[in-house]
């Protein structure tokens, strides 16, 4: 058994509408960058895990493990795809982490990828709704924004959260994205722009919603022994946890909190032996702005119902008490669903290495990455540390 | 052995359009139309309503009113000229949605606006012969009026359902009689979106001839006159024709006015006679006699002599027609055209 697991290499493509890059181009771009960054050789790699939500629906392509191994020049190695809707990336990271922890492997590459713009927008929307309940939500005409809109409605009803507070999350995400050259939307927006953008599912507007994106990210994981041998600059994954909840939103105990996040957070803090206060920064799953508010509450950065206030008072900004989504988040950076969890790991690694450039936060020692599938049926959390 | 009505239910969509609004679009004189047809407004179905949904709503209301176990229904017949499927029975949908399936017979009927009363006659036969315990007869339509045609002022949507049985009758059906000929006054060929009609030919040789013949025939056979009836309800393609017939048959105006609802909801086609009858039953008391005569183009009329029992007062319908008439929201012509699917080349999918 290996005790510790390190990230020894990272790679990421720009996120956006990448018309000239196909599914396999994206993942090999990110993977190659990660392997070069790590300094290892292809023959060192023992396994390949790919997080991808729906290549079958988006590109008609299944059998992703073999495809990526093939186009990465790694034919022969163990390779598989992991799926958990928008949490596919983090689930792949977790599976790779477990493979190393178990002692079965020492060096593993984990990729996350989605190519969403090769199908019409309406078709992509339907595919994403596959993360919800087909028979009892999608059939009734529910869309993903509508599910998060109903969560926002309850949060506003129960806690008095305002649309201004929810909008402030989007303003902050864009501010951070403006400092990230790989972001899909590297520009700032004003709160007026957010609150006057077109209505998607009342009360959520266009600028409260993450976009459809193409993109990929990859990390190289290594056991402690391998990391010490191969890497000068490892970042350690000190805890990994995941929890599930009902597939349909209507079966949840509460719509104003995300129980899978609360449960996974409890587990991950216990494993890492830390408290929410010990976290220096977090990449959280803001597929919709309300989701970030529910995420920081579930992660224990504030009490339930106080997330809106935290956003409004700037506590989540780069210089705030607990900076969230320094990358720009799903909203500003983009959300190629399968890539998102790995992109979060890439951002946290950059912060911990001190390589986050214009968005670098001070004294980053410990970061948390939080990735959600569907309307909260899956949450995956990892804690990454400098030492 | 008595046969009659064990319960009944009605349904009207919520939306309405006024004669003035249709006339504004086609450059007609609204006042002339309102006066000549005696019509003020008509119902319009929601985007997600069709004959099957209307039939289910009124069938459920009828079953609730009767308080019977739907598993005891032995036949469901749905009369309509706007069945959602050409092949696949609306009655199967009603049977499933009322929990009456699967131990029953079911079929769709079509005879222009009298398919609903034809369904009542068929269920009466099965009930009376004891082949079944209860039969559910429905007349429902989302009728089509060609844009700009005079029928557009009246063609509306709605339905009525009647549970026919032998016990606990709220009204006995004492007799039924029909009068049928081959008279092409109004028709719709396969693959045609809208019906065609013979204009003034739909009047005297068609509606008037058949309705009067059926009314006279059944009264003569039972040795009754207009004085023996408290109400008369007729098929009502507009507000005017029934008034004329009542006068010819020597019925006082009050006796026809109670069940004359087309001026406020339009012509609900297969639903029209059944809804007019429901309007009367909603308030009728024991011993009152009703003469009901439908009319279906093509052409034929079904006449019924109905006598109200005490059970009707004990078991008043909790969802009376006037509630549906009063719950309404007006549409302008543009939204009406959208709701009825009359806008061509739309690049959006509709349910």
């Amino acid at each position: 058994m290996n005790k510790k697991v390190a990230i020894i290499g990272i790679g990421i493509t720009p996120f956006g509408e990448l018309w000239t890059r196909g599914y396999r181009d994206l993942i090999t771009d990110a993977g190659t960058e990660a392997i070069i960054d790590s300094g290892i050789d292809g023959k060192d790699i023992e396994g390949l895990y790919i997080g991808s939500m729906s290549p079958g629906r988006f590109s008609g392509q299944e059998h992703i493990g073999a495809l990526v191994a093939d186009y990465s020049g790694l034919t022969g190695i163990y390779a598989t795809r992991i799926e958990g809707a928008c949490a596919s990336g983090s689930l792949a990271l977790r599976e790779a982490y477990l493979a190393i922890k178990s002692g079965e492997m020492d060096v593993v590459v984990v990729g996350g990828v989605e190519k969403m713009t090769d199908v019409p927008t309406s078709s992509a929307t339907v595919t994403l709704m596959g993360a919800g309940d087909q028979e009892w939500e999608a059939f009734k005409g529910a869309t993903f924004p509508s599910l998060y809109a109903m969560m926002a409605r309850r949060h506003m009803f129960e806690y008095g959260t305002t649309i201004e507070q929810i909008s402030q999350v989007a303003v902050k995400s864009h501010e951070n994205a403006s400092r990230n050259p790989n972001a899909q939307f590297p520009f700032k927006v004003t709160i007026d722009q957010v609150m006057n953008s077109s209505m998607i599912a009342d009360p959520l507007r266009l600028l409260h919603c993450s976009p459809l994106s193409d993109g990929a990210a990859a990390v190289v994981l290594a056991s402690e022994a391998a990391a010490k041998e191969l890497s000068r600059d490892p970042v350690w994954i000190t805890a990994s946890a995941s929890a599930t909840d009902t597939i349909a939103l209507h079966d949840r105990v509460s719509l104003s909190r995300m129980d899978s996040t609360i449960l996974a957070a409890e587990k991950v803090y216990k494993k890492a032996g830390v408290k929410p206060d010990d976290i220096d920064f977090a990449e959280v799953h803001d597929c919709f702005s309300i989701a970030e508010i529910m995420a920081i509450e579930g992660l224990g950065f504030c009490k339930l119902g106080e997330g809106g206030r935290m956003a409004q008072e700037g506590e989540l900004s780069l210089d705030g008490r607990i900076p969230t989504n320094t990358s720009g988040g799903l909203k500003g950076k983009g959300h190629p669903v399968g890539a998102t969890g790995i992109a979060q790991a890439v951002e946290a690694t950059l912060q911990l290495r001190g390589q986050a450039d214009k968005r670098q936060i001070k004294d980053a020692e410990r970061g948390l990455i939080h990735n959600v599938g569907g309307s909260g049926a899956t949450t995956v959390i990892h804690i990454l540390e400098r030492n | 052995m008595d046969v009659g009505i064990v319960g009944y239910g009605v349904y009207l969509p919520k939306y309405r359009i006024k004669v003035e609004e249709i006339a504004r679009v086609w450059g007609d004189n609204a006042e002339n139309i309102k006066k000549s047809l005696i019509i003020h407004e008509k119902t319009v179905p929601s985007l997600d309503e069709d004959t099957a949904t209307i039939a289910v709503e009124c069938a459920r209301n009828a079953i609730n009113h009767s308080q019977i176990d739907p598993q005891n229904i032995g036949a469901i017949y749905v009369g309509s000229e706007s069945h959602p499927y050409i092949v696949k029975s609306t009655a199967t949908i009603v049977a499933a949605a009322t929990s009456a399936a699967p131990d029953l017979t079911a079929a769709d009927y079509e005879f222009a606006c009298k398919a609903g009363t034809a369904a009542i006659q068929a269920t009466m036969g099965l009930v009376k012969s004891k082949m079944i315990r209860y039969g559910l007869a429905i007349g429902a339509d989302t009728s089509q009026g060609k844009p700009g045609d005079i029928l557009e002022y009246t063609a509306s949507s709605g339905g009525g359902a009647y549970l026919i049985g032998r016990e606990n009758l709220i009204a006995k059906i004492l007799d039924t009689y029909s009068y049928t000929t081959d008279t092409p006054d109004f028709w719709r060929r396969e693959n045609q979106e809208f019906p065609s009609h013979g204009s003034r030919f739909t009047g005297q040789p068609a509606y008037f001839k058949h309705v009067i013949a059926a009314a006279k025939g059944i009264m003569k056979r039972n040795d009754l006159t207009s004085d023996d009836f408290d109400y008369i309800v007729l098929h009502q393609p507009n507000g005017k024709f029934p008034l004329k017939v009542a006068k010819i048959l020597d019925f006082d105006k009050e006796k026809i006015e109670k069940g004359l609802i087309t001026p406020y909801i339009g012509n609900t086609y297969s639903g029209a006679t059944l809804l007019g009858l429901a309007q009367i039953l909603d308030e009728a008391v024991a011993g009152e006699k009703i003469l009901a005569v439908s009319y279906g183009s093509g052409a034929g009329s079904d006449a019924f002599i109905i006598e109200v029992t005490e059970e009707n007062e004990k078991k008043r319908n909790k969802k009376p027609l006037k509630d549906y008439i009063n719950q309404k929201e007006y549409l302008d012509y543009a939204l009406y055209a959208k709701f009825k699917g009359k806008i061509k080349g739309v690049n959006l999918e509709r349910p």
Partner: protein, 133 residues
Amino acid sequence: MSKGVAVHWRLIPQRYNLIGTECKGCGQKFFPPRQLCPNCRRSGNITEITFSGEGKIYSYTLIHVPSEGLGFMKPYAIGIIRLDEGPLLTAQIVDCKPEDLAIGKRVNSVFRKVIVDGDSGIIRYGYKFKLTE
């Protein structure tokens, strides 16, 4: 969403008549139905029950960017309804003005077309809800 006919057909009792399940072991009622009680699991005792279709709005939204096949309906309201018997379900709320919608308002089920498979496919009917007058 699957276009298969059988997918809809096998759910007709639930979609038309709100037939769900109840665990006789713990008394919890389920709609959509569950065949395995999450409280009692193997020791549960699941039976069918029919829900009344009466309930209250628990949350709702007005969808401006519609789901596939519902372009004609936009904007349309969808809600999570708490049935009087306890369970919550997702359904469209029809024949209402957006300003009339609010958490806690009473609703009852109606029978409507939910989705139509183009010009030649089947019509999928099912429950929706409307504000109780």
